[in-house]
Amino acid sequence: MIAYAARRLLQLPIVLFVIVTAAFFIMRAIPGGPFSNEKAVEPEIRRLIEAKYHLDWPVPKQFAQYVGPFNLDERGHSLFGGDHSEPWGGLLTGDLGLSFRYRNQTVTDIIGRSFPVSAVLGSLAMILALLIGMPAGVIAAHRRGRWEDWSAMAVAMVGICIPNFVLGPLLVILFVFQMELLPVAGWGSLEHMVLPAIVLGLPYAAYISRLSKGAMLEAIEQDFIRTARAKGLSERVVILKHALRNAFLPVLSFLGPATAGILSGSVVVERIFNVPGMGTWFVQGALNRDYLLVIGAVLVYAVLLTVLNLLVDLLYAVVDPRIKLS
């Protein structure tokens, strides 16, 4: 298992390199630029700004500068004081570069601030999704065809169908304007997290309940469950101890990419509740042509996705002894 994990981790740099390369060149292929503005900048001034950020270089050279590890700029940038003409630089030295739009900040500054926010909110939402989704699915499967099943699945269907930009404002009307229980938007206290976590988590809860119901139904048909029942185990033990373990497998494989997605933020939820998370930077970064910020965000997402998928694969082996990793 350790060898397996090590092999997968060794693949990571290659995967990331491909992703960064693709992101870099795709971003540069879009028209417009970080310094295009409604008020025109004199061509001479614009050239100077672009030179400051190396945008006047051929794109492959810019890419080489971005990745590093050699600093190709003989004069060095003095954006943060002093003369930064060190021989090393770029992504390989851990430098994600400068934001073009937020001109006193580095991409590391921006992601370092926003990722923890998204991670907290995303974890809350995911816990909520599991706490609601798993029991709902198990009950629905166990009470198949009865009202518990119908109502749980109806709610799940609605949860999947209602987009978050509808659910968010609905909850705001209810909890903020009608009941006056929660703050309308902002960040910094537990109260501020409740509504965004619900809006972010509910669709996942719905999805998880559908998945776990399906898997549970399959599990309770199987021989070992019949054996367990025949042994005279209580229904509770049969369901929670034996069947649930099996029912959890498809949920687990869903959790990998889902957690990566939820942890890296959601632009819609962040806009509605004014949460300073990372999702907005994906979108705003792209709209502002803040090239390096977008690549930085993509990189974080890619790392999350790969690592979480690996984690899921490893957990498979833990949950289901039939699976051998090799």
Binding site: I30, P31, G32, S36, N37, E38, K39, A40, V41, E42, P43, E44, I45, L48, I49, K52, L79, F80, G81, G82, R101, Y102, R103, N104, Q105, R113, S114, P116, V117, V120, S123, L124, I127, L130, P169, V176, F177, P183, V184, A185, G186, W187, G188, S189, L190, M193, L244, R245, F248, L252, I272, F273, N274, P276, T280, Q284, L287, N288, R289, V319
Partner: protein
Amino acid sequence: MRLPTFPAVLIPLLIGGCVTYEKGDFAIVLGTEPQSLDPALVTGVPEGRVIRGILEGLTTSDPQTLEPLPGVAESWEISDDGLVYTFHLREARWSDGTPLTARDFDSAWERVLRPETGAEYGYMLWYVRGAEEYQKGRLDDWSEVGTEVPNDHTFIVTLDNPTPFFLDITSFYTASPVPAHKVRELGDAWAREDNIVTNGPFYLADWRHRERLLIKRDPLYWDVANVRASAIELLTVESIPTNFNLVLTGAAHWTDRNGIPNNFVSNVLAGEASKVRPLSVRRGPYLGTYFVRCNVNEPPLDDVRVRKALAMSINQADITEHVTRAGEIPTHAIVPPGIDGYSNVKGLRFDPEGARELLEQAGYPGGKGFPRLVYLFNTSEAHRGVAEVLQAQWEEHLGIGVELENQEWQVYLDNQTNLRYQLSRSAWIGDYPDPNTFLDMWMTGGGNNRTGFSSAHYDSLVVAAGRESDPVKRAEVLAECERIIVVEELPILPIYHYVSLHLYDPRLQGIQNNVLDKMMLKYFYLDEGGDVAKRSPGLGREPHS
């Protein structure tokens, strides 16, 4: 599966996520996240609002009339030819206690104009002799540029031309002083939140990015006695409905037009924004114009008769009454009303009959044979609304078909700049209260022209206006320029002038509407007790009960 490990990981995260916030006396919605607080680097509205609160130039502006008022300069003299300004600086200090001298202005202006800085608003200082050449790298020696520091308290500026609005320029944030001692030490990083040192009514106490900035009254500020707010929170908000909700729930005490969703504008103006919370609203003229650019190189728009026909078949009131709805002023001109000493030009009125005739003369009777035009706008519901009205009116009055095409902002800008369009939605917000800011942009090859319009006669008029020292004659020349744009040549089709709109807690005092919608935080304060209705200024609407 053992779920409890998951929450165990989370608890420290949650604790890390909860922070105690220092509150201000009140909170205003600033707008989007400022790109920076370095006056040399920024160009946006939210940035300007913060910078005017924390940095003060040689002059400031009256919050109502925008009349230049003494700032760091306690007085000034202007030479008879209008070219030499001598500013006398008061004893002032930076927020770290360092004395502020004329050298801080000199080095700040040098920094703005230094080519490597890449200051987009450097042109604001180009009225200073040699400044343009210096920024464009054609002049290397700063001592040849028209600024002089004879002693710590005197700053002498020499201009190329008499520039009647120069004292407005010195109040503009690009001309703010920056702390030379900090810039020497830190370079551009002087403006990062942990380093920044300022000289205005407030200093930056805290900046939680994409949440809020906190500014506090600076006890070292020379006019601190007249600053009544001790701390103000400036919220950064991206979404219009969220912005509106913050004000409705009392979490924010002030917002501008960007906090009022279009669907609610009529309710807000009627004083019916909220049933539970008294809110005041006030509206004022704003130096901004919404118009359509025509690509004059592109047939059939290369024919001025076609452009005139398009202009004369627009009924602007339909747009302001049914689409924008905030009381915008329908217009046939480009320069908005509200500039002292300038009488507005009457452009081409709505005249479908005349428009059809012109179109016929151009060879398209009843719109027959007229090629299909494409109207380009940046993706937004509001711009689509305007575009649809224009499309319908041109169809109805001229019998011509116009296709609507929306593009993402940067793509749209790129196409407009490179003249890859036929008709294109446009707007312009004035930089200073003078007609020039709406007229010099149409000079040949100007970066903001973007229509292909070029006229040697027009260029010479704008230059002549710049050299004219008699304000009356100057206004006449500028009016002639405007007449060429909106009566004779029509590279643009005027639609409406913007209005400024503020929605705020009636206890909030010191808010003024001025034509640039310049926010002067210095005068803001929250009046906790007292009779609100009595104190509510006459200009605004009374709060409803």
